[in-house]
């Protein structure tokens, strides 16, 4: 309480906010109690099974899926995303690449796949969530190094940067409103500074993550979609140009950091 009065006396509101970030320590204690256990391990196993399980009208596995390192190579693939693929002539994030593989290799219906990519209330995880979680775990410990050699990849970064600072919606919010300063929080949630390498790598490197309050693994695509909802922006479509651009901006800022996903969050 003393500290609080001090802040008021100094009119240093930013200082109060910065100090309250220390409340994250409570959640660190929770993580300690769990040991190294993260319920995401179940979803990692389920994702691996789905990869090797024949599916769709073609009844094929996803082993022929090229995630950028060659067909079937999964270890270390995720840290190079988002990246340009010549076969689609587009920069893709992992989620849209998976959808592409499931439609082209397994012959599955695009509409059905994208109708509900993320779990809703009462669901116990979707295929996309499981596959993304396993593939992220296949890059655990690897250095985040998104491809930026193709002109389209650099253009995607620039577009992402532009959207990041673009203010819109009924609240005149941009991503930067919450994510361009460090040591700030929203309610009790610490907000990463996504313009800095440390903030971006902490964020990019910890998703997909198991959300304890939801009992589910959530992906970065879901995280961004929920940010859009909080900003009162139109619903963000999985694998859309805007989603891929923002992910490219974040991943490039995070370059050099370590992939620690799947994470464990409140």
């Amino acid at each position: 309480m003393k500290r609080h009065h001090l802040c008021v006396a100094q009119f240093a509101v930013w200082l109060c906010s910065a100090q309250l970030v220390a409340d994250e320590g409570v959640f660190d204690q929770y993580r300690d109690l769990m040991g190294d256990e993260n319920p995401a391990v179940f979803i990692v196993d389920e994702g691996e099974e789905l990869w090797f399980m024949p599916g769709g009208p073609e009844s094929t596995t996803l082993e022929a899926c090229d995630l950028g390192l060659g067909p079937g190579i999964t270890a270390g693939a995720y840290v190079r995303f988002p990246r340009y693929f010549a076969d689609t002539d587009a920069v893709m994030d992992l989620e849209s690449r998976l959808v592409y593989c499931m439609t082209t290799i397994q012959g599955r219906d695009l509409k059905t796949l994208t109708a509900k990519p993320y779990s809703q209330r009462g669901d116990f995880g979707t295929e996309i969530e499981a596959l993304v979680t396993w593939l992220a775990a296949e890059s655990e410990g690897a250095t985040i190094a998104p491809e930026q050699t193709h002109a389209a990849e650099r253009a995607m970064f620039n577009l992402g940067e532009e959207i990041f600072f673009y203010r819109a919606g009924p609240h005149d919010f941009s991503c930067a409103t919450c994510h361009e300063q460090s040591g700030m929080r929203i309610r009790l949630q610490a907000l990463p500074d996504l313009t800095s390498q440390s903030g971006a790598s902490e964020a990019w490197g910890s998703w997909p993550a198991y959300r304890i309050s939801q009992g589910l693994v959530r992906t970065m695509g879901w995280r961004l979609r929920d940010c859009f909802r909080q900003q009162r922006w139109p619903e963000l479509q999985m694998g859309s140009e805007v989603s891929v651009a923002l992910q490219t901006y974040m991943a490039v800022n995070a370059a050099g950091g370590t992939m620690a996903a799947p994470g464990l969050k409140r």
């Binding site: 769990m34 256990e37 319920p39 179940f42 209330r121 009462g122 116990f124 009992g215």
Partner: protein
């Protein structure tokens, strides 16, 4: 895919510490889905920990326990190499079981 259990059992002095993570939705029966229809209750009602054939803990659980529950138990008398088994039953008649050896 419910039914899976991840168990670790570690000896610390005379005490064996068991940590078990269970795959289960733990639906309370009080929630509604996106369409507004109630989601049926589905939760673990009984969970037991065995050291060999000997029960060392029995618990009655309810809807208040989180999804994918994490259980920590300590008991005395375990030896390295002994089998520790965790078993649960849910309100829909489903069961889950897993075992490990004490390290």
């Amino acid at each position: 895919m419910a039914g899976r259990i991840r168990i670790r059992a570690q000896k610390k002095g005379d005490i064996t510490e068991v940590k078990a993570l269970m795959r289960h939705p733990m639906e309370t029966g009080m929630r509604k889905d996106q369409a507004g229809d109630p989601i049926p209750a589905h939760f673990i009602t009984e969970v037991s920990v065995f050291h060999g054939d000997q029960p060392v803990m029995q618990g009655h659980w309810g809807a208040a326990v989180s999804a994918n529950p994490f259980l920590g138990v300590r008991f005395a008398g375990g030896k390295s190499g002994d089998i520790v088994r965790v078993v649960w039953t849910d309100n829909q008649g489903g069961t889950g079981e897993g075992d490990t050896t004490i390290r």
